[in-house]
């Protein structure tokens, strides 16, 4: 379905921490179209500075009591000027929300397992993917790493869906009674890969590029497929500007630099070239 551009009213902006907030937008037309892993291009309506929109994964598809889609939310982390502005938005403010955009994840089904690997704000695309996988009863695990325990969010949400949680923190701190492994999220992932059964697992990853590279290479080493969502500076999100290119092995047009906004952001981890 073609993307739409909605002047969406802010329904809520829940600050999860000093840097993170969940921004809920009244954009049902975007919500109904969205598939897990797709993104939206966002900017406060009418604001000319910053000039360009910014890309954000769709975090949740929002529904009312009757189950009708009312909008989408994004998990916003302050990184610079726009994300700071979005963090400060209040209900009633209006945001231009263009989407959904990009290539979504490919959900797998049992007996194959689904392993979602999230680093920091890389959690964002996995809320919707988890719902899809849970709906098809695919055995799903979330490997989720953060700097500290207080930056691990929405754990209840994933548990309620029956997702197995494997948490890591760099300082080894624990999250609200839940055990966290000290170190990188790739440590428990590799242990799991070593023990993966014959039905195999699909490894989904989103987070810092070094993590994506490590995950893709691990999956390959243990002969498991992977899909990783990359992050590039994006000027348009529609294939117009060629700012967002990533190197892929057998990339179709343009030798092997392809536009991650329309050929991604989700790529087969085995296809990407890691420089």
């Amino acid at each position: 379905m073609p993307p739409v551009d909605i002047d969406a009213t802010v329904i809520a902006n829940v600050r999860l921490s000093r840097d993170y907030s969940v921004l809920s937008l009244a954009a049902p037309e975007v919500g109904t179209r969205t598939r897990p892993g797709q993104f939206v291009m966002v900017k406060p309506t009418g604001v000319t500075d910053p000039l360009l929109r910014r890309p954000f994964s769709v975090f949740e598809v929002l529904r009312n009591g009757a189950g009708e889609v009312t909008g989408v939310s994004i998990l916003n982390k302050r990184a610079g000027r726009s994300t700071k502005r979005l963090y400060e938005l209040e209900p009633g403010d209006v945001v231009s929300c263009l989407g959904p955009l990009g290539v979504p994840f490919t959900p797998v089904a049992a007996p194959r397992q689904a392993w979602m690997v999230a680093g920091g704000v890389g959690l964002a695309p996995f809320a919707t993917l988890a719902e899809t996988l849970a709906a098809s009863n695919t055995p799903t695990t979330l490997f989720y790493g953060a700097r500290t325990a207080d930056e691990l969010f929405y754990l209840d949400f994933f548990e309620r869906l029956g997702i197995t949680l494997v948490l890591t923190t760099e300082d080894g701190g624990h999250a609200a009674g839940r055990h966290c492994i000290k170190g990188r999220v790739t440590i428990p992932l590799e242990d799991a890969l070593k023990a993966v059964g014959p039905a195999g697992a699909m490894v989904y990853a989103c987070g810092p590029e070094p993590m994506l590279e490590a995950v893709a290479k691990l999956a390959a080493r243990y002969n498991q497929p992977s899909e990783v969502s990359v992050e590039r500076v994006m000027g348009c999100g529609l294939g117009g500007c060629y700012s967002c290119v990533v190197p892929v092995k057998h990339g179709g047009e343009n030798a092997n630099l392809v536009r991650s906004c329309i050929n991604g952001p989700v790529f087969d981890g085995a296809e990407l070239v890691w420089d």
Partner: protein, 313 residues
């Protein structure tokens, strides 16, 4: 009042309206088929094309600046042959009026690319990119010398029956003299401005914001300079001027037309709002109704230098 007539003529070419998608800001056009009716645009300019495919520069390729952006894509492109084979038929099917932005590292390459396009079906015109600031051999060496400009336009005109529209760089002392050189060489129209050579530094790392260090500045920031340059060219040459640089809405389009633009191109704003086209078309119709203007072409160069009032009240 009857529905306003938005059509404009660029030499033999008649466009239903003056809005053209700027090169490099609209992919190959087809990327936008699902958000805008390509036939409803005055025209679509392709990404810059050489004979062969090009990789372009490594990312990051863009950075935002006050009311603008710097880009150094490096003319990544699929080459003219694949364009003619894979893109052009679909653009024609979509009813687009396709302008092809032609690049070259040598005069011969410009000529060769234009020959390929002349033999192809359904190219509306050639926009000769002699003004890309982002690559050493991006034609800027033609665009920054009057002889070079005259020479490449003259050579290309001999090689093709298609309308030839050299695209001028603003990075020169006297842009109008380049417009004149292009006209003397037989150009059917000129387009300006390409981007302003610019640079931005990350002070925390002391490194460039984009890999190529230097890039081209576009967006609203440059509009006042671009309008001035269009006005200077309009006053010196007789061929149509296609103006661009920071256009965001109908007001901006009209400003460029009053300054002497027959048609305009929109680039950066298409990133900000891919639905800009219908909004601007509505805005133009509204302006014409309010000011009781039947034909938008009546606005071309209709700027009145009479001083304004000193106080608004």
């Amino acid at each position: 009042m009857a529905t306003p007539d938005l059509s404009v003529a660029i030499g033999s070419l008649t466009l239903p309206n003056p809005l053209i998608a700027a090169s490099g800001c609209f992919g190959y056009g087809l990327e936008y088929e699902h958000v805008v009716d390509l036939a409803a645009l005055g025209g679509v300019v392709s990404k810059g094309l050489f004979m062969k495919e090009r990789q372009g520069h490594p990312p990051p390729r863009i950075v935002e600046t006050p009311a603008g952006m710097i880009n150094a894509i490096g003319l990544q492109g699929i080459g003219v042959h694949r364009f003619v084979k894979e893109k052009l038929p679909l653009l024609n099917a979509a009813g687009a009026r396709t302008f092809v932005n032609v690049c070259g590292t040598t005069l011969d390459e410009y000529v060769e690319v234009c020959k390929v396009l002349s033999d192809a079906e359904g190219v509306a015109a050639i926009e000769l990119n002699i003004s890309c600031p982002n690559i050493k051999e991006g034609g800027i060496q033609f665009g920054c010398s009057l002889e070079g400009t005259y020479g490449v336009v003259n050579a290309v005109k001999k090689a093709t029956h298609l309308p030839v529209i050299p695209k001028l760089t603003p990075n020169v002392t006297d842009v109008a003299s380049f417009a004149k050189a292009a006209e003397d060489a037989g150009a059917d129209a000129i387009s300006l401005v390409n981007t302003f050579l610019a640079m931005a530094i990350d002070v925390e790392t002391r490194r460039p914001k984009i890999t190529n260090v230097l890039g081209g500045l576009s967006g609203p920031a440059i509009r006042p300079i671009a309008v001035r340059m269009v006005w200077e060219c309009y006053n010196l040459v007789k061929i149509p001027v296609i103006g661009m640089g920071g256009i965001t809405d109908a007001r901006d389009v009209i400003e460029f037309m009053l300054a002497g633009s027959t048609a305009v191109q929109i680039g950066t704003q298409n990133f900000v709002d891919p639905f800009v086209w219908t909004k601007v078309l509505d805005g133009l119709a509204d302006y014409m109704t309010r000011h009781n203007i039947a034909k938008i072409s009546d606005l071309i160069g209709a700027f009145d230098p009479t001083p304004p009032k000193a106080t608004h009240a």
